[in-house]
Amino acid sequence: MVSNASSRGLSRRALLKGLTAAGIGIGLSRGLERPPVAADAAPAPGVPRRGGSMNIGIEEDLTSIDPYKLNGNGDLLIQGLMSQPLVAGNAEDKIEPVLAETYRSESGGKTWIFNLRKGVKFHNGREMTGDDVKWSFDRIRDRKNGAVLSSIFNIIDLRTTVVDRYTVRTDIATGFGAFLSNLAQSTRAAILAHESVDASGTVTKPIGTGPFQFVDWKPGVQFSAKRHDGYWQTGADGKPLPYIDALTVKVVSDPSARLNALLAGGLDFITQPPVAAARNWIDAKPPEGIEFRRWFYNYSDYLSLNTRRPPFNDVRVRQAVQATIDRRALNDAVYFGLGQVHNQPFKTSSFWYENIPIAPVDLTKAKSLMQQAGFGRGVDVTLAVWSPVNDACAEVYQAQLAQIGMRVKLDKHDPGSFFALLPTYNWGMATLEIGTLFHPDRPYGYLSKDNVGHPYVGGYDDPRVETLLAQGRDELDPARAKAIYRQVVTDFMAVGTPEYHVNLPLIDAYHGYVQGFDAYGRDLVAINGQMGLHKAWLAK
C-alpha cells in the first residue's frame, strides 16, 4: 500500500528517526536473525458477543471519500469497511471471489464473465445487480472521475455488458493476465450503488455492500460507521455480521499519542504503534490487558535508481549499490527486526515470491565495481526522500553507501513536491513504497517504459525486459506467468534496479477484550483492508 501524506510531520517514521541510532546498537547486539514472533499467531477462538462500539486509532486519514481513489493506509482500512470488489486476493495472493460467486474467462482472456452473488444488499437496502457492476466500472473508466484504475481501464478498453440481473460480461482489448488482480486492488474496483454520487458525479456518501455503512466523516479528525444490518456474511450465530454496532476511526497521526490513548483506555484498537514499543513487547511482554499482532501485506520499501543519468546509468554503479545495502541491518535499524527481509515486492509467503537468493553484502566487490566505473574516489549523489515517511530508511542508506565512497545528500520533500519531482528524473535515487499488490504486473509495471497505466519510475529501458513484462501481463495462466516474472526479477537483479529491501511490518495493538477480528490472511474479506473487523466483537 502506498502510504500517502503522513501529513502532520510526526508520523511513525519521523519518531523512529530519533530511535534509529539506539536501534542500530540494540539490533546489532541481538544478532541479525529474527525468529517468528508469537504475535504472528491467530487469536484463540471465543464465543462472539453482539453489540457495543469500538474506537480505533489510525495513523492517517482517508485520502478521499471516493473508494476509487484509494491510495493510503487510511483508505485501505476505512474504505474496506464499506465497499467490496468482485474478487480479492487471498493470503497467497491468489484471486478468489467475493461479490462475484464465480467467474471465467473466454476468448483468450479478452472476455470475463462474472456471476454475481445473489441477495447481496447495499447499505440502502437495495440488492446489488449487474447494473450496479456496469455503473461502477463505467464510472471508473470515465477519466473525469479520477479513479486510480481509470488509466488501466481505458488502456485495455474495458467495456461492461449486463447479461442478466446477476451476470455481467466484461470485454477488454487484449488478453490481460493481470485483469483480475487489478479488480482485486481493495476498493479501487469496488461495486458502489449509484446513489453514492451527487449530480456532478462526485461521491458524497459511499453506499457499498460492506459490513459497515457510512455515518459521518470529519476529514483529518475521525470517521464514523455503523453496522450494515443486511450484510451478506453471517456470523457463528447464523445472524448477519458484524457483531459490533458502530466504529469510530480516529486519526491520531503521532504513534506515541496513539499508543498512549490505547494504554489510557481512550482507544480500543490502534494500527502501527511505535515499532520500538512492539519490539519491547516481544522481548519482554506487553502492558497488562494489551495484545498486539504483527502481520504482513505486500507492502515494501524500495530504492529506485535513476538510470537516465550518471552515475546510475552505469550498471556497475547499480550493482555496487546492490552489493552494499545490508537489508538485515536496515530492518534492524528502522523496523527493529520486525520487517521481512526480501528482494521482491511481495511477502515471502506470496505465490508470486520467487526463491531467488538475496545478494550478499560484499563491500570489496562494491568498491571494485565503483573503481571500474571510474568512481574510485567516490561520487556525490542525491537521494530524494519522501519525508518524513522514509527519513529513517534514507539515513541508513546514506550511512551504508558512504562505505563505498558514495556521498549521499538527502533531498527531503513533502508528498506533493516528491511526486512532482519523480517524473522529471531530476534526482539520483529515490525512496519509495509500494503496496496493494496481487500480481507482479503492477510493481514491475512501474519500471516499464511501455506500461499499462503505471507511472514510470527509474527510467530503466530494456527492450528484452519490456517484452517479458508484456508477456507476463498477458499470460492468463498464473504458473506460466510466474515463470516469466522469475526471468524479469532475475534480469532486474542482474542490472541492479530497483532494490526491494524490507516488507514492512504491519502491527496492530488492542485491548484484550477486542476479539475475533482476523488480520490479513485468514479470512478472504479481511484482505479487503478492513482487517476482519466484520468479525470483531467486544468481550466487555
Partner: protein, 289 residues
C-alpha cells in the same frame, strides 16, 4: 502556494500517477487548468457570495471543514489564554512587588522552565503522568456527548495546560517587567507618600497602566495561536485549525489554504481591533479616531 512544486493531483494519487489524459480530465473538472488569474477571480466572486469554495481533497465545502474545526481551536486558545492570564498576571505582579525575594525567584524560575520546555515535551510528560500513571485524565481527543458534562474539563485540561505553559512564561515575564517600570514612576511615589495602601497602589494604579503592553502581547499571542497550535493538536489529537492548515498545505488543497489564510487574517485584524479598543477603556488619555 501555487509556485511550490506539486499540485492536488500529485498529492491525491502519489505513486499511482494518472496518465496524461486522465490527469487533464481531472484538472478540467477541478478547474485547475484555467489560468491562475481566472481561478483567483472565480474564487473572489464566490467569496462575495459567501462561498469559501470546495475542498479538493475532502470533496466538501471549505466552510464545512472550518465549521468542524473552528470551535475546537477557539475553545483551546481561549482556555489557554484565560488560564495563562489568570496565573501569569497575579504572579507577575507579586514578583515585581517582591522583587529579588524568594517569590520573585520562584516566579522567574517558573517562567524560565515553562519557556524552555517545548509543548511537545511538556504535553507528553503530562500525558504520561495524568493519563497513564494516574489514569486521571484522557490523553487525547475532543469531548463528545458520550463523555458527559465532566468530559469537557477532562479532555480540555491537559492540552490547555500544555499550551498555557509557554504563554505563562511569556506573560509572566512581561507583567513583571511592565509593573516594575510603573513602580518606578512618580505617581506611585506620590500615592505611597499620600498613604495609599500598597495593595491599592498595585491593583488600582499600577496594574491599569502596566496592562497596556500585556494586552498587546496577549492579543498577539491569540493571533498566533489561531493557526499555530499544531504541535499540541498532534500530541492530543485535538481537531483544531492548526492541523487543518498543515494538512491543506501538504495536500495542496488550494481552496482550503486560501480560506484559512483569509480567516486567520480576519481573526488577527479583529483581535487587533479589540486590543485597540481596550486601550481606550483602560487609559482615558487614549482616544480612538
Amino acid at each position: 502556494m501555487r509556485f511550490v512544486p506539486g499540485d492536488p493531483i500529485d498529492t491525491l494519487y502519489g505513486i499511482n500517477r494518472p496518465d496524461q489524459a486522465t490527469r487533464a480530465a481531472i484538472a478540467s473538472k477541478l478547474g485547475l487548468d484555467r489560468p491562475l488569474w481566472i481561478q483567483y477571480m472565480r474564487w473572489i466572486g464566490r467569496l462575495g457570495a459567501g462561498d469559501l469554495g470546495y475542498s479538493i481533497r475532502a470533496q466538501m465545502p471549505v466552510a464545512t471543514l472550518i465549521r468542524q474545526r473552528l470551535p475546537a481551536s477557539l475553545i483551546l486558545v481561549g482556555a489557554s489564554i484565560i488560564v495563562s492570564v489568570i496565573i501569569a498576571i497575579p504572579v507577575g505582579v507579586l514578583a515585581a512587588a517582591y522583587r529579588d525575594s524568594p517569590i520573585d525567584l520562584g516566579a522567574m524560575t517558573t517562567a524560565l522552565v515553562t519557556l524552555s520546555v517545548p509543548p511537545f515535551v511538556s504535553g507528553v510528560l503530562l500525558v504520561l503522568l495524568f493519563g497513564l500513571a494516574l489514569h486521571w485524565l484522557p490523553t487525547m481527543g475532543y469531548p463528545t456527548a458520550r463523555d458527559g458534562v465532566f468530559g469537557w474539563p477532562a479532555h480540555l485540561l491537559l492540552p490547555t495546560v500544555t499550551l498555557a505553559g509557554t504563554l505563562i512564561g511569556i506573560v509572566l515575564r512581561l507583567t513583571r517587567s511592565s509593573v516594575l517600570d510603573e513602580l518606578g514612576q512618580d505617581y506611585v511615589r506620590i500615592a505611597r507618600a499620600k498613604g495609599v495602601a500598597e495593595r491599592a497602589v498595585l491593583a488600582t494604579h499600577v496594574l491599569k497602566n502596566a496592562l497596556l503592553p500585556i494586552i498587546t502581547l496577549v492579543g498577539l499571542q491569540m493571533s498566533y495561536l489561531l493557526g499555530g497550535t499544531v504541535i499540541v493538536e498532534i500530541v492530543f489529537a485535538w481537531p483544531g485549525l492548526g492541523g487543518l492548515v498543515v494538512d491543506a498545505i501538504l495536500a495542496r488543497d488550494y481552496p482550503v489554504v486560501q480560506a484559512l489564510v483569509l480567516l486567520i487574517a480576519t481573526g488577527v485584524i479583529l483581535i487587533s481591533l479589540a486590543v485597540d479598543v481596550s486601550y481606550s477603556m483602560l487609559d482615558p488619555r487614549i482616544r480612538l479616531g
